[in-house]
Amino acid sequence: MRRPARVVGSLAAAMDLRPSDADEAFRSRLREWLAVELPKLAPMPHREAWPERRRFDTDWQKRLFDGGYAGLHWPKEYGGQGASPTEQLVFFEETTRARAPYVGVNFVGTLHAGPTLIEEGSDDQKRAHLPQILRGDEVWCQGFSEPNAGSDLASLRTRAERDGDDYVLNGQKIWCSFGHIADVGEFLVRTDPDAPKHRGISWLILPMNLPGIEIRPIKTVLGSREFCEVFLTDVRVPVANRVGAENDGWRVTNVTLKYERGTAFVSELIDSLRLCADVAPLVRDVAHRRELGRCYADFDALWSLTKRNVSQAERGTPGPGAMMIKLAYTEARQRFGELCLRVLDRDALHIDGNELVEERLRTLALTIAAGASQIQRNIISERVLGLPREPR
C-alpha cells in the first residue's frame, strides 16, 4: 500500500471525532447559559392545560431566541444564527444533558415547516414567518393527512379552487397535532383534480383563525387531546400563501418530509441515551441488564450515524443514512419501551409520575406518524437498493 501523502500520525486526512475549538467554546458558553436560564423556568404545566403548555413552550423558545440559541442553523437574515451543523449537534447534546425543555408544541414550525420555508419559500414568506417562529410568537401545525389519505398521502382530496387572488378551501384533515393551539398550518390541498394525483397538489400557509375552519380534538391512547380533526368549509386563503408553484406541492412536500423524517428526531435520540442511564439503576434481572446494553448500543450507534449524516451533508455528498434514521430510531425506541415495562413490572401499572410508562405509550405513535415503518422500508428498498416500486 502506498504511504499516504500526509504527515505521519496526523489525523487531518482521516475521520476524526475530536471537536473543533470553536465547537468546544460554543459548548461551554451554552452550558453557562443553561445554568442561568433553566432555574428561571416556571414548573411544567399539566398535560391537558393547553394554553399554559403553549405558553410554557413558547416562553422557552423566546428565551432561546434572546440568548442567541434559536434557529442555530437558520440564516441570519431571518433571525437564525447561521451556525455550523456540528454546533447544532452540540446544542442537542447540552440541552438534553441539562434536561432543558423539548421544542414541544412548535415541533412543526421549528423542525419542518420553518426549514421548508427556508428552502422553498419566497422572501416575503420567509420574512413573515421565520423570525416569528424563532421568537416563539407563531406556533405551526401540519395539515397533510386526511381520513382517506394516510400512507397514500398523494391521494388527498381537500379542494382549493381559485377565485381571483384567493383559493377557496373545502375538505377535511385529520391527526393535526396541536391544531387547536396553532396560529398557522402547513396544508396540502388539491389544486388540479384532473391531473395525476402527484401533480395536482399545492403546499399552502394557512392561518388557523380564518373563517370556515373548525377544529375538533381527538383523544389519544394517552387520554390527552393533542391531535385534531380540521374541517374546512369555504375557507378563503390568499394565493400569495402558496409555497412553490401551483401543482408543484408534492415536490415541496418531499422537502418537508425530508426534515420531518431526517433531522426532527435528533434530540429524542440523545434523550433516549439519558433514559437508558435512568433505567440502569432499576434493573435487577440479568437478562434485562443485557437487553438494556443492547438498546443502548442501538441509540449510541444511531447517534454516530447522525454525526455521519451531518458530516456527509457538510461535504455535499449525502448518504443513505438520513433515510434510515426514522425507521431505526423508532423501532429501537419501542424495543427499549418494552424493556422498561418488564423492568418496572407491577410498578408499570400506573402512569402518573411514571415517565417511562408514559413514554411507552407515547412512542407507540412513532412507527406510524410521519410515515409508518412499512412505508419507510418501501422507500429504503426502492430509493437506496433500487428494487421494484410499489403501486403509487
Binding site: 486526512a13 471525532l17 454525526k307 455528498t317 437498493l385
Partner: protein, 306 residues
C-alpha cells in the same frame, strides 16, 4: 468532527478493493489461508498500516474491505503483532486448560489472552487434534492443551481486546455489506410468479432491514476507529473509547450474523448450497462472534459503563 471518509480514505478504500477483486477472487478465497496469501497481503502493506503512518480509522477501512471479500486467516492477530509473524489470538476462559486455536498449522505465534494479561507462545511448539469438519470450512480449528504454568502478564491485553474488537467489527461490517449486495442482486434477477422476488414486500422489507443494519453498523465502526485514534476523547464522555468499541462490536457483529441468516432466506434453496458464497459469510460471522467478546459480553460491558 468528521465521520465521513476523507478523499485520502476513499482512495485507500478503492485501492484495497481493487487489489482484493483482482488477486483474491472467490476461487482464491475458497482455497483458504496459506503463507502465499499472507505474503501477498503483507506485501500490499495490510499488516504494516500503522507503522506506515496510517491511522486506526484507515485500518478500519482496510478491514472492512477484507471482510467484504471474506478473506480467511488470522488477519487481526497478525495485524496487531505487526512484526511479520503470522499470529493467532485466543482468549482463555478462567481456569481452562484447553483452547480452540484457528489456523494452527500456519501460525508462527499464538497470543493467549488470559484475564487482564496475555502471553505469546511459539506456535510451532503447540499441537493437538485438528477437526476434519470445522464450522467454517475456511477456518480450520485445533484443540490444544496450554502449557502448564503459562505466565500471562502485561497491561497490553486490554488494548489488544479493544483494537481486536474494532478490527473484527470492521471485518464483520464488510461481510454484512457484501451479504446485502448479493441478496439485492439476487432479488432483482430471480423471478417467481412472473415477477422479480424483490418486488414482494416480504422480501423488500428484509433487504431494507439488512441495509439499515449495515449503515448503522458502519457509523458505529467508523466512530470506534476514530476513538482509537483519539483516546483522549474518553475524558469528555463517560467510557468514551470503551463504549465506542463495544457498540461497534455489537452492531457490526449482529449485522453480519443477521444479514447472513437473511441472505440464506432471500436466496431460497440456493442459499442452502455449498456453491453459493452466502454460507461462507454466515459461518465466518459466527466465528467472529467468538473473537474479542460477542454481542452478549459487549452488551453487558455497556451496561456497566452507563
Amino acid at each position: 468532527m468528521n465521520l465521513d471518509l476523507t478523499d485520502d480514505q476513499i482512495a485507500l478504500r478503492d485501492g484495497i478493493r481493487s487489489l482484493l477483486a483482482g488477486r483474491f477472487g472467490a476461487d482464491r478465497i475458497r482455497a483458504g489461508f496459506d503463507r502465499a496469501l499472507f505474503a501477498e497481503l503483507a506485501e500490499a502493506g495490510v499488516f504494516s498500516l500503522i507503522a506506515d503512518g496510517f491511522t486506526w480509522s484507515d485500518a478500519v477501512i482496510v478491514f472492512e474491505q477484507l471482510g467484504e471479500a471474506c478473506v480467511p486467516g488470522p488477519l487481526v492477530g497478525s495485524f496487531l503483532v505487526g512484526d511479520g509473524r503470522i499470529t493467532g489470538v485466543v482468549e482463555r476462559a478462567a481456569g481452562e486448560s484447553h483452547v480452540t486455536v484457528e489456523h494452527l498449522d500456519m501460525l508462527d505465534a499464538l497470543v493467549v489472552i488470559d484475564g487482564p494479561g496475555m502471553a505469546t507462545l511459539d506456535a510451532t511448539t503447540i499441537s493437538g487434534p485438528t477437526s476434519d469438519w470445522p464450522l467454517d470450512p475456511l477456518t480450520p480449528v485445533t484443540r490444544v492443551a496450554l502449557p502448564a504454568g503459562l505466565e500471562a502478564s502485561g497491561a497490553d491485553a486490554a488494548e489488544w481486546m479493544r483494537r481486536g474488537a474494532v478490527l473484527t467489527a470492521a471485518f464483520a461490517l464488510g461481510m454484512a455489506q457484501r451479504l446485502t449486495e448479493s441478496s439485492v442482486a439476487y432479488a432483482k434477477e430471480r423471478n417467481q410468479f412472473d415477477r422479480p422476488i424483490g418486488s414482494f414486500q416480504a422480501i423488500k422489507h428484509v433487504l431494507a432491514d439488512m441495509a439499515v443494519r449495515v449503515e448503522i453498523g458502519r457509523a458505529a465502526v467508523y466512530a470506534a476507529g476514530a476513538y482509537l485514534d483519539a483516546p483522549e476523547l474518553e475524558s469528555g464522555e463517560p467510557g468514551g473509547l470503551a463504549r465506542a468499541v463495544s457498540v461497534a462490536k455489537v452492531m457490526a457483529g449482529e449485522a453480519a450474523v443477521r444479514n447472513g441468516k437473511d441472505a440464506v432466506q432471500v436466496h431460497g434453496g440456493m442459499g442452502f448450497t455449498w456453491e453459493v458464497d452466502v454460507h461462507l459469510y454466515l459461518k465466518r460471522a459466527w466465528v467472529l462472534e467468538t473473537h474479542f467478546g460477542g454481542v452478549d459480553a459487549h452488551c453487558d460491558a455497556l451496561v456497566a459503563l452507563i
